[in-house]
């Protein structure tokens, strides 16, 4: 009896595994199990192909693998780009592979350690220097012309370069904004700056959200003043908005790391920075305006007055919470205005088997055509200033705020080779501070740890 069961179980399981469906169709929304394979045409090269004189005619099939993190509308956006590229280069098959977002950062090194890394990958723009330093990225020497570079926000080129050589191809970017519940603010009689020129200070901002929270409380409703996507936020793109702005432009507080990227004492522990940390802790612990732990959908569910998030969040709000009335205000400032420019940039693996073909693809991706193709599916600010007027949502309120911030005072996050390590340790410190840790203990110990880890990058 037992034997029979064992054998039948084995048979059934082999059958189940044996059934492999060849290819999946591409549904509208982002599926977990969709592959995106360009169909191969093996006829003679078309006229458009012959025009590409940069590389010799590519009749042979080239297969590229492109790895992206799941979510964020990336799958849809890049799918559109691939479709457009297929028309130009039919012999290049590009396969998109998605990795769960929370594991993306740890899977990249594993992939690059293996013999068979993906040809093209996405890397957070502030991490490009790190991967370039470690030698896993191919230099992108013919992706941009000088005209292209003039059109792109200069700090972004610097962010994706190491020692003057470009390793990442910026093409879309995101900044942050304060989403606010227009009904709550109107009822409480609190005004909100409507443009980047107006602006508001952090103190002003806190006073205003406090007013709204108290008004709601008088109506018997408990709301948060400020939420982020993750509470407390766990990456420096959010937390450094406050800390850096407590210093003048170019001051150590603003720079948040030494120019050679190895020292943080004298940068993360200036009196201004300490003031910022106190402000941060105050927000969470004393005034309880922000939640110390995850509160999913707080803003969407009208359980929060404001939410600091990025441009694409507007799309999510419209889709998931259609009844919510929201608008966007600029990020508050203290001694300086800070809005972070940050996004995943495409890179080419140095150990990939098709480096030249990958660079060709990146050239298309980062061109105006590529950006516009991406925007057909997912709306993102182009890094090319000339393209902004072509994408309507960014010329009108509320999303105009994001584009304006990018042009006026958008800066990349602190630039250093060891950014991934810096980010992790600094963010952990900010979370600890938000959850009530003693600033005088946790700041020095974090600084010591960061510096001991950054020591390896001393040049």
């Amino acid at each position: 009896m037992f034997k029979k069961i064992l054998i039948s179980i084995l048979l059934i399981s082999f059958l189940l595994i044996g059934c492999t469906t060849p290819t999946q169709e591409t549904p509208q929304s982002s599926p977990i199990v969709t592959e995106n394979t360009n169909i191969v045409t093996t006829e003679a090269p078309t006229a458009t192909q012959i025009v590409q004189e940069a590389t010799p005619t590519q009749e042979e099939e080239i297969n590229l693998r492109f790895i992206i993190p799941e979510g964020g509308g990336r799958l849809e956006g890049y799918t559109k780009v691939l479709e457009a590229y297929k028309k130009i280069k039919p012999n290049v098959n590009i396969k998109l592979e998605t990795i769960p977002f929370k594991d993306y950062y740890s899977q990249l090194p594993v992939m690059w350690a293996s013999d068979n890394p993906a040809d093209v990958a996405l890397v957070d723009s502030c991490d490009v220097k790190y991967y370039a330093y470690e030698g896993v990225l191919a230099q992108l020497d013919n992706v941009f012309t000088p005209e292209d570079i003039a059109d792109i926000v200069p700090s972004l080129i610097e962010e994706s370069s190491l020692n003057g050589k470009l390793y990442g191809a910026p093409f879309i970017i995101s900044t942050q904004g304060v989403f606010y519940n227009t009904e709550m603010f109107a009822e409480a009689g609190v005004s909100v700056p409507q443009s980047v020129e107006e602006g508001w200070t952090w103190d002003d901002y806190v006073a205003k959200i406090k007013k709204v929270v108290e008004y709601e409380k008088s109506k018997g409703k408990d709301v948060w003043g400020l939420v982020f996507i993750n509470n407390p936020p766990n990456i420096d793109i959010w937390t450094h908005l406050i800390v850096r702005s407590f210093g003048e432009v170019g001051s150590p507080t603003y720079k948040a790391v030494s120019d050679d990227g190895t020292k943080v004492s004298g940068y993360l522990d200036t009196p201004e920075a300490l003031e910022a940390y106190k402000f941060w802790q105050d927000l969470y612990v004393t005034q309880k305006l922000a939640p110390q732990s995850t509160v999913p959908d707080a803003f969407g569910n009208q359980q929060a007055a404001t939410m600091i998030s990025f441009a694409a969040w507007g799309g999510t709000l419209n889709a998931k919470f259609p009844d919510l009335k929201w608008s966007v205000a600029p990020i508050p400032y203290n001694k300086s205005h800070v809005a972070h420019l940050g996004e995943f940039v495409p890179v080419v693996s140095a150990k990939g088997k098709n480096v030249e073909a990958s660079k060709e693809f990146l050239k298309f991706l980062a061109s105006a055509d590529g950006i516009l193709a991406y925007n057909q599916a997912t709306t993102m600010i182009p890094v090319r200033k000339s393209l902004i007027p072509q994408i309507n949502v960014f010329t009108e309120m509320p999303l105009k705020i994001f584009a304006d911030q990018m042009i006026t005072y958008g800066v990349p996050r602190p630039m250093l080779i060891g950014h991934p390590i810096y980010n992790k340790l600094f963010s952990q410190m900010m979370i600890d501070i938000a959850q009530g840790a003693d600033i005088n203990t946790v700041v020095p110990s974090t600084i010591t740890e960061i510096e001991s880890q950054l020591a390896q990058f001393k040049q």
Binding site: P109, W112, I431, Q435, A437
Partner: protein, 289 residues
Amino acid sequence: MKYINRKSEQYFYAILLILPALTAILIFQIWPIFELVHVSFRNYSMLSGNSKWIGLQNYIHTLHDPLLWRTFYNTIWFIFLKIPAQMIFAFGLALLVQSPNRGIGILRTIILIPAITSMVVISAIWGLMYHPTNGLINSFLELLHLPMQPFLISPKQAMPSIAFMTIWKDVGFNMILYLAGLMGIPSSIYEAAKIDGAGGIQILRYITIPLIKRTTIFILITNLIMAFKVFTPIYLMTGGGPTNSTRVIVLYIYDNAFIYNKMGYASSISIILGIILLIISYFSTKEYS
């Protein structure tokens, strides 16, 4: 204990029987461990592939790394919180669910369900349940007019909270093992004891507990080894915080390998952990036989 004689036949069958498992173990477990030892004597960057021999430097560094000592402390604290409570609870449950009564059978199944649920799923759900203001557990506390607790955001409560969740999950697993052990006790002994007039507690103290000593040790060692290697719930629920209060050894190994790009150092910590666990198991097998 008599063994099967006729040596050559024995050898042939022995090889036949152990070959498949042994091959898999040698290739996929032993070989990586050798690689690990090899890397632990080097400065190895997974990204660049650069590998430089530095001898015992990684090991020496472990002695001077206060954060590593902290992770050992945290891990041992986790073990103290989890194992005694879990084993006592499991033993009690095993005694309770021994009877083949249908209703009890349902309870037995229910207790085992967390054990077979994915740790990823459980961590996600309990993470939400432990929310300091909007969590299910705090809602229950509120109902009982008890103060709401911070749980995962408090350095003092984070580890106990995670330990409690893992007890909830793993107790079923221990319970089965205890059940298996209890079944090995022949009912004749119980009958004899009852005839001699022994009451429930006496039977427990003088008969049951001594007779499952072997099982208990086995469960203890298994739990100990698994607890030293704890990773997933902590990674998913607190990531080592708040203020390093839940940073356990394997999490530190993971951080060193994947974030600080110090594979060599991470490997040396793994080897040290392995040696500690080997020592623990060695002493237990002495106790065992």
